[in-house]
């Protein structure tokens, strides 16, 4: 009798979990289904059609916003990953030194402040700089995105470094490799999965951002999410469903890649 007693069982937990998974995915499935709806109204089903994808594709505002999102996301993610890698090398595998706790706090600071507050702060700060320098390009958005992407890129890179074996690097040093050679030939190849994971996280985080972008952008600098928010505010068309579907697909692909890279055991 005692053996058949399931120690891991808790009444109702499985039912709640099942509900959660259904509830998490149901709205997304409905959203995707209506992207293929031929009817103009979003409340009835008018048969299968790809016309909303077509109309999104021909909408120059959508294409512009998408390209801008990618541009900002790529530059910000690459910068954030490089800086985060350097910072991770500087904050791991060491005895505690003065300033180490400060560095942890500083790097994670963007996670601790509500986005709206950062958005407001950057609006004020950058509007001053705009008046001062007259520059109003994408640089501000890239700087803002780089800053809030750093803690996300830092996470997997630091985790990877902390689990890395030190003996290989010591062996390289014993064989008269210079520190740079050791880094290039040993550390970097071992660290690579962490760096890739960090890069992808940073890119997804940048693509997702609405609030900070909404406050920092100048006129005509809509990214895809801020463009979509504007459209939803005005009233919804299945075109938004179509754009969302493509966006979702992209996220799923990136997350899948990320998942396999970061879970891969050596």
């Amino acid at each position: 009798m005692a053996r058949s007693f399931a120690i891991k069982h808790q009444p109702g937990f499985t039912a709640i979990a099942a509900t959660c998974f259904v509830v998490l995915y149901l709205p997304i499935v409905v959203l995707v289904a209506y992207a293929f709806n031929a009817a103009t109204s979003t409340s009835e089903w008018g048969g299968f059609s790809l016309k909303w994808f077509q109309s999104a594709w021909q909408n120059s505002q959508v294409i512009d916003a998408t390209l801008r999102s990618f541009q900002i996301g790529a530059v910000a993610a690459i910068l954030a990953t490089i800086f985060a890698t350097m910072a991770a090398l500087a904050t791991t595998r060491t005895a505690p030194y003065r300033g180490l706790t400060f560095k942890y706090a500083a790097i994670n600071q963007p996670l601790m402040v509500p986005e709206i507050v950062t958005g407001v702060a950057l609006l004020i700060f950058f509007s001053r700089i705009k008046i001062f320098t007259g520059y109003s390009g994408l640089g501000y958005l890239i700087a803002a995105h780089t800053a809030f992407c750093i803690p996300f890129a830092y996470l997997p890179i630091r985790a990877r470094l902390e689990n890395m074996d030190l003996t290989l690097e010591r062996a390289a040093a014993d064989l008269y490799a210079t520190p740079w050679q050791t880094f290039r030939r040993i550390t970097l190849p071992l660290l690579w999965p962490g760096i890739l994971a960090g890069l992808m996280l940073a890119f997804v985080i940048s693509l997702d951002d609405v609030v900070i972008t909404e406050f920092v952008k100048s006129g005509g600098q809509d990214t895809l999410p801020t463009y979509m928010l504007g459209q939803i505010r005005r009233g919804i068309t299945p075109e938004i469903n179509a754009i969302s579907t493509v966006f979702l697909l992209l996220s799923v692909v990136i997350v899948t890649l990320f998942f396999f890279i970061s879970r891969k055991r050596d």
Partner: protein, 306 residues
């Protein structure tokens, strides 16, 4: 001649210097494009609003007074600013309820995931990671399509004859609540799962051997052991929920403002940057207080169980 000790100390000093140089770019970017500007917000909250937005460089406590008070335009007397108090209260209330709701749903979900076999565990983790990294705006929009009057919920209920007219969920506080609980649920599940995965079920077994009931085991063994995950999850949900911007716009329809919408208003039509700044600092203070309370609570419970 330098002694061996001096050489070692010099090497250590050089190592630390290299470490500062390596972390400099990340720290500088964060300082200039995240942390530093927060100080400017604090300064702005004590200035006078300019006529076309921005500020006049003139000290004024007016912004801070009007966070909670209203000045009568005729006799200059102060009274409680009911609109602001309502919005503060709504934001805090909705953030707390969202945290509790996601905890009530997320805890069993994380437990379910952690008690699967090692192979299937990865699949469940993957299923929760997908919404985690999916655009928040898209997921909010997905909720909008489900709960509006012509949406799935109302259509099904109407067809089944349970209701005769659509229930108005959209553009209410309930809609904001549903939306926030939906989008922030993965943020609660993941850290709890991370703690739960390390749970040693021999302790659970020992509890049952000592005639504990299921509920006692849950309350006295499992919950204390995964408490760090619960605290991390609660912080991760509470902070963005308090500052939620997209959800009230999309699901609240602009009528049911939350703090972030009130702040945005001051930088747009309101043209009162100092008030917007003061409100932002107020949000920060609430977040800090919540964080401190959590940290203190976590520290205390660790001593008790440790």
């Amino acid at each position: 001649m330098a002694s061996a000790e001096e050489v070692a100390r010099e090497a250590e000093r050089r190592d630390i210097r290299t470490r500062w140089l390596l972390s400099a770019p990340a720290l500088l970017v964060i300082f200039f494009a995240a942390t530093g500007p927060l100080l400017i917000v604090l300064v702005y909250s004590f200035l006078t609003p300019g006529p076309y937005g921005d500020v006049k460089w003139q000290f004024s406590p007016e912004a801070w007074i009007s966070v909670f008070m209203e000045r009568d335009i005729f006799d200059d007397t102060l009274s409680l600013a009911a609109a602001h108090v309502t919005i503060f209260w709504r934001s805090i209330k909705l953030a707390i309820i969202t945290t509790i709701a996601t905890l009530a749903l997320g805890f069993p979900t994380a437990y379910f995931m952690a008690t699967r076999s090692e192979k299937t565990r990865d699949l469940w983790l993957f299923l929760i990671t997908i919404p985690f990294w999916t655009n928040l705006l898209i997921r909010t929009f997905a909720v909008l399509q489900i709960i509006r009057n012509e949406g799935l919920i109302n259509t099904v209920l109407l067809k089944l004859g349970i209701i005769s007219a659509p229930i108005q969920i959209l553009f209410t506080d309930t809609a904001i609540l549903i939306g926030m609980a939906y989008v922030y649920l993965p943020l609660m599940v993941l850290p709890i799962y991370a703690s739960m995965e390390k749970l040693d079920f021999r302790l659970v077994e020992a509890g049952y051997d000592l005639y504990a009931t299921r509920f006692q085991v849950l309350r006295r063994i499992i919950f204390p052991l995964v408490k760090p995950g619960v605290i991390a999850g609660s912080i991760l949900v509470f902070i963005p929920a308090l500052g939620a911007y997209v959800t009230p716009i999309v699901l609240g329809g602009g009528k049911n403002m939350m703090l972030s919408n009130l702040i945005e208003l001051q930088f747009g039509q309101g043209r009162n940057w100092p008030l917007g700044s003061a409100l932002s600092i107020a949000v920060m203070v609430i977040v800090m207080v919540a964080l401190l309370a959590y940290v203190r609570n976590a520290g205390r419970s660790e001593v008790r169980h440790g």
